[in-house]
Symmetry: C2
Subunit: 309 residues, 2 copies
């Protein structure tokens, strides 16, 4: 662990694997590293498949690297270019990025993480936060509850959309309009980019005008690249807002959010497995199967009995 | 509730809305209806977007309806044709289906259900089971953990794939190969349908040969339609297997599965909200924010204190 803290990449990779693969080890590691956390800017990047999240993150990381910032990328989308879904051109660019000493890339499988992907992702981000990366960027696919959960650990959420693909409608439906702090219309060279930009601004005015933070909407192009400086500024502004405003603090910057996540995990991975091994559970299970008691009444009885014990 | 039990559709729709929108009402309704459940064949249908799940379910329901079976369809995929994403031709076919007295169609939004979508879906299926539908078919998008959870309530899971689209690889990655009891290569008129069929059989032989149930792999075409009788037989065979084999019983047919789901819901929607209101939670939250205690240690202390109370 000491080597990982001092910047050795192989040690860091090994430490991350341990944290991913065993929940008890993870708890020990986090116990030790926790005082060192809370320094990185944790940025969640999400959006519909095909909106070019990975390419954007790549271009963004290259720009940050030029300013000697250290960037760790955690890619959770299984179809991400980081995890192998790339076109040949992308692959070569990714290889460049992987060899950049200021950049660390880690892909996480959607299955296999012991104790849940969200638990594992949270702990991996904590490890990266503690090992002095300035930015930890978490990429998710932007579909389904898992993504919304993972995005919860970010202080700033960037939603990436592509022009003209009806992405803004899809994003709206998936609840992304509500969680985005910065919106990016990527592939700004495509027709309809300005139209999409205006549509998103309109939707934000209609549905988000009572929120204290007014998200910026930007145009980017990962290939040129363009818009990276604007994105950097927009993220920095939001980070500064989150730092100043107690009520806006969230993700891994917020104590109650972290505590709540840990409580849910304890219940899911310790309390429930213990409960399942009790005789009372087996007996109530039989009664539910026979339809002599309904599951809600049985569950209440079991939990109350346990609290009385 | 009595009217819904006696087959009045408007009463049934209203009862379902109540069950969706309020968890306490749902618990009361299920308490009353629970002894009437356990009769329907509950079939989960999942697969990648674009594999034609909705059209297949439509064609299948039409065939079942001819044999005077009563079929209820619960569509959870937000991009489903049932919920409005249909082409014009599909819409007209769906309208026919919606007017069939043997068919009942209900779409569920992925957000908005009070107390979680999985909770709501489970209770809606229970209501349909209790109101004497022979089949309750639950359609999900086949992406993300939510779908895997919802599929858990089915006794028989049908995985729908389309030929040549690399769907079998995607399904394999998403964990669908492991949960399918019947596999359908839909759009059998497309080139490569037989190839996909053989690929799936191969994958099942390699990865699933030690499982006690050997899934059938079928070709279907929703437009002709063809393969519907084979699908009906395959589902019936699996239902009969599940009925006979205690170890294979699962979904809403299994007491422990239902009990466990109810326990998780009680913890999430009652235990945790109560815990958040305690003084101890607020104090530990501050300590985590100050990094004077890590979230895992804090969570364990809180839960143990509560159990001692």
């Amino acid at each position: 662990m000491a080597d990982a803290l001092h910047g050795d990449r192989r040690s860091l990779s090994r430490l991350i694997s341990k944290v991913e693969n065993d929940r008890d080890t993870a708890k020990q590691v986090i116990r030790t590293l926790f005082p060192q956390t809370g320094r990185a800017s944790i940025v969640g990047v999400t959006g519909p498949p095909g909106s070019g999240k990975s390419a954007l993150i790549g271009a963004f990381a290259r720009e940050l690297s030029k300013t000697r910032q250290k960037i760790a990328i955690v890619a959770i989308d299984p179809s991400s270019t980081f995890s192998g879904g790339a076109l040949l051109g992308d692959r070569i660019r990714m290889k460049d990025l992987a060899e950049d000493p200021n950049v660390f890339i880690r892909s996480m499988a959607t299955r296999g993480a012991v104790g849940g992907l969200c638990r594992a992702a949270m702990d991996v981000v904590r490890v990266l936060d503690a090992t002095s990366w300035n930015y930890v960027i978490v990429e998710t696919a932007g579909a389904g509850q898992t993504d919304l959960d993972i995005v919860e650990l970010a202080q700033t959420v960037v939603v990436v959309l592509s022009p003209g693909a009806g992405d803004e409608i899809q994003a709206f439906k998936a609840g992304l309009m509500e969680i985005g702090d910065v919106f990016v219309v990527n592939k700004s060279d495509l027709p309809g980019a300005n139209r999409t930009l205006l549509d998103i601004r309109g939707m934000l005015q209609t549905y988000g005008s009572e929120r204290p933070w007014h998200p910026q909407v930007l145009l980017t192009d990962s290939l040129k690249p363009s818009g990276m400086h604007e994105l950097m500024t927009a993220i920095a502004e939001h980070q500064s807002y989150v730092g100043q405003t107690h009520v806006a603090r969230r993700g891994l910057a917020d104590g109650e959010t972290q505590l709540l996540a840990a409580i849910k995990q304890e219940l899911e991975f310790e309390f429930i497995p213990d409960l399942r091994r009790t005789q009372a559970f087996v007996e109530y299970g039989k009664k539910v199967a026979n339809r002599t008691i309904d599951p809600y009444t049985a569950a209440s009885s079991l939990i109350h009995a346990l609290k009385r014990e």
